[in-house]
């Protein structure tokens, strides 16, 4: 018995020798959707140490952007956070517009707000639903997914695509709001409200659910700031920082909405904050609809053929428009040399785009500030000392999206 024991061994209660168990979760594991790898050291079920490895979904988004024109980068932004693609489109296009120093028509701005909030609703529904699914509550998940399908139907009506929307354009939108959209939107939102009530009833007050979420994955206010965490995670810790209020862009300064704030920064607060943000987004959408009705017939695009080329119907019949279209597609728009950083409040937090232009038709450098990546950093801090099962709700609430985190 005098033999020295291995370093990893610890003396347990009653003289029992226990070993630390090393567990590789991921990159392919049901809990690590979006491919991330946790190396967890377990003492029984308690997490002693945790190492989070990201980068399994790296596609070189930023480098890819440099090889095409400014327009050609827009579809890539869809693939960042595929749950709320329009918000990523919006961030990128706004950054380019800042370099171009242009402003788009009012109707376009309102349409962008509407599309962005629809996208956010879809993202939040996915996050809340998936959190339930991973706790083996499949029924609320499917209520959430039904609501998301309705939102995606609306998105499809707007831009023809459900997931990777490719909707926002530099200087406008892919197309104007279709006829009858407002009515359909109101109808769908009514059903979404019903589903959210069902969802709320089955989940939010459920004792098992609350026990799993409350007090787990806590990240204090100070830590949030230290890690520069943004989005619902930060707001759940009690800091009312939302770019839509802090630095209003688009039409957000004319819209009436609230920012929900939590107190403790645990998973339950995060869940409630996301749920309330969902309601606020629906409130914003409802404020956009009357404006869109009023401005019917007005353009959403900027009327400058050097930036937003004319539509196909005019291109086929006229000489000048044909040339403008040709030049716009082959050479791309010429963006004045300079640099710009624009951040929008995406579903996960501050989604920023930093673009450097050398005056040519292609971006010199595109850099994306992904909220997922920043928010994933304090993951081990949230979880060490907790139980293995706490990884699930915490990771769901952090909502790391591989495409956005690894770019």
């Amino acid at each position: 018995m005098a033999e020295p024991v291995k370093k990893a061994r610890t003396e347990g209660k009653g003289g029992l020798h226990t070993d630390i168990q090393k567990l590789n979760m991921g990159p392919s594991h049901p809990a690590t959707h979006g491919t991330v790898k946790f190396t967890v050291e377990l003492d029984g079920e308690t997490i002693q140490a945790m190492d989070v490895a990201v980068g399994y979904l790296h596609r070189g988004f930023e480098k890819e952007c440099e090889s095409g024109t400014y327009y050609q980068a827009i579809p890539y932004t869809d693939r960042l956070n595929y749950n709320s693609a329009i918000l990523a489109n919006l961030g990128y296009c706004m950054a380019v517009e800042k370099l171009l120093e242009i402003e788009i028509p009012d109707r376009g701005e309102w349409a962008r707000v509407l599309a962005g909030e629809l996208s956010r609703v879809g993202d939040h529904l996915t996050r809340l639903g998936a959190a339930c699914l991973e706790l083996a509550a499949m029924t609320p998940f499917l209520y959430g997914i039904e609501a998301r399908e309705l939102i995606w139907d609306l998105q499809e009506m707007l831009c023809g695509a459900r997931v990777t929307s490719n909707y926002v354009r530099i200087g406008g939108l892919q197309r104007n709001i279709p006829d009858g959209f407002e009515d359909r939107c109101e109808e769908s939102l009514k059903r979404v409200d019903e589903l959210l009530v069902d969802f709320d009833k089955i989940v939010t007050a459920n004792r098992i659910f609350v026990d799993r979420f409350r007090g787990t994955g806590v990240l204090s206010r100070e830590d949030c700031v230290a890690y520069s965490v943004t989005g619902p995670l930060l707001r759940a810790a009690g800091i009312p920082y939302d770019l839509r209020k802090a630095e209003p862009y688009s039409k957000y300064d004319e819209i009436d909405f609230d920012i929900p704030v939590g107190t403790t920064g645990d998973n339950y607060d995060r869940f409630l904050v996301v749920q309330e943000e969902l309601m606020q987004s629906i409130r914003i959408i409802r404020q956009c609809l009357p404006v869109l009705r009023k401005t019917k017939g007005q353009p959403v695009d900027i009327q400058d053929p050097h930036i937003r080329w004319p539509g196909k119907n005019r291109v086929y019949g006229r000489m000048e428009e044909l040339i403008q279209q040709f030049k716009g597609v082959t050479e791309g728009i010429k963006v004045p040399a300079g640099e710009a950083y624009v951040a929008v409040e995406s579903a996960n937090g501050e989604l920023g785009f930093y673009i450097v232009s050398d005056g040519s038709g292609k971006p010199y450098k595109v850099r994306c500030r992904p909220p997922s990546f920043v928010n994933t950093q304090p993951l081990s801090r949230m979880l060490v000392g907790g139980l293995l099962a706490d990884i699930i709700p915490t990771f769901d609430m952090v909502n790391m999206i591989g495409g956005e985190c690894d770019r």
């Binding site: 168990q21 567990l23 594991h29 049901p30 809990a31 079920e45 339930c132 699914l133 991973e134 706790l135 083996a136 509550a137 499949m138 029924t139 499917l142 209520y143 039904e146 089955i202 989940v203 459920n206 098992i208 659910f209 026990d211 799993r212 139980l387 293995l388 099962a389 706490d390 990884i391 699930i392």
Partner: protein, 387 residues
Amino acid sequence: MEFDLSKIPITLFIFSLIVGLFSPIMTWVERKQSALMQDRIGANRAEILGIRAIGLLHPVADVIKMITKEDTFPLGGSKFLHNIAPMIAAIPALISFAVIPYGGHYQAWGADWTLVVADLDYGVLYLLAIGSIAAYGSIIAGWAANNNWGLLGSIRVSAQMISYEVCMGISVVGLFMVFGTLKMTDMGIAQQETFRVLGFVEHLGWAQAGTAWVDFVKLPMWGIFLQPLGFFMFMTALIAENKRPPFDVPEGESELVAGYFIEYSGMKFGLFFMAEWIEVVVIAGLMTAMFLGGWSVPYIPDATLVEFFRGGVGVNMANVFAMIIHVLIFFTKVISMIFFLQLIRWSLPRFRYDQVMDLGWKILLPLSIANVAVTGLIMLLVKEVTG
């Protein structure tokens, strides 16, 4: 227990009906009921010669898939233990139905039929004992897999099963005290009687003996009315033993991938699933036999039912009619119970491992012990008052 050849065919027929038919149909129930709850259509694609039969052919497709799949074996695992674990898990589930009576005692054409395969004096104890053996299957499965997830799963299984066996046993002690028996058929017979809910009013002298409204309010002496707390605690413990949501921590697919049966494929994996589904039927049957009056029609004792048919069709056929009605009643109760269990399974999220332990040791165990004490006290009081 007497062994009589004459009763074998009919009991075995119904027995194999339960075990052979119910468990595949359970997969269909699971799919369709969850679909109903979740606004979906549910499985309806499997077809033979163009017949889809609202998805009822899916169990057939499942079985064919399971049997023809490759049987993989984990590197570095124990082959012997790996092979016997699914059997240890499945066999107790199959044989535990043997003591659950699905009908009473009938006499026709000189033959005696008691609709239970093994009418044991210690029926409930047999079930508790067999139930604990099933835990070994899961524990061995995880241990033999040489896999971290399997190991964690089997540790969780052993802790959970042992914890819940304790309160499972104690929570039904109250029922034993009320009925004074461990024999399942006797319990069924005892539950055919009725009791006056407001009887205490007379004994306290608030109403005269024989008052009409006191006599009118009668309930059958079902376990659920005599032991309401026992019913819910026993059911909770049984669901926990069954390892289905919300108690599926040992296999929690989002944490442990598949837990203790992670390295199983093909029909070995199928055996674990089959065992789980048969256990659901066993739980439903057990709850019916012990708490929901078994095979009996509420307010109508067996003898009255036989007497009712006797005038028209003669004593032999009267017994057969009564038997058919009783078996149908039993299955109706079992099916309702299964629906209820599925409702729980598809509504609740999963517990965390430590919360399962807390529920078992800190809430269910003290409650079940208190239930025994309170039951004893009430029985004593009733005896004092009624003499």
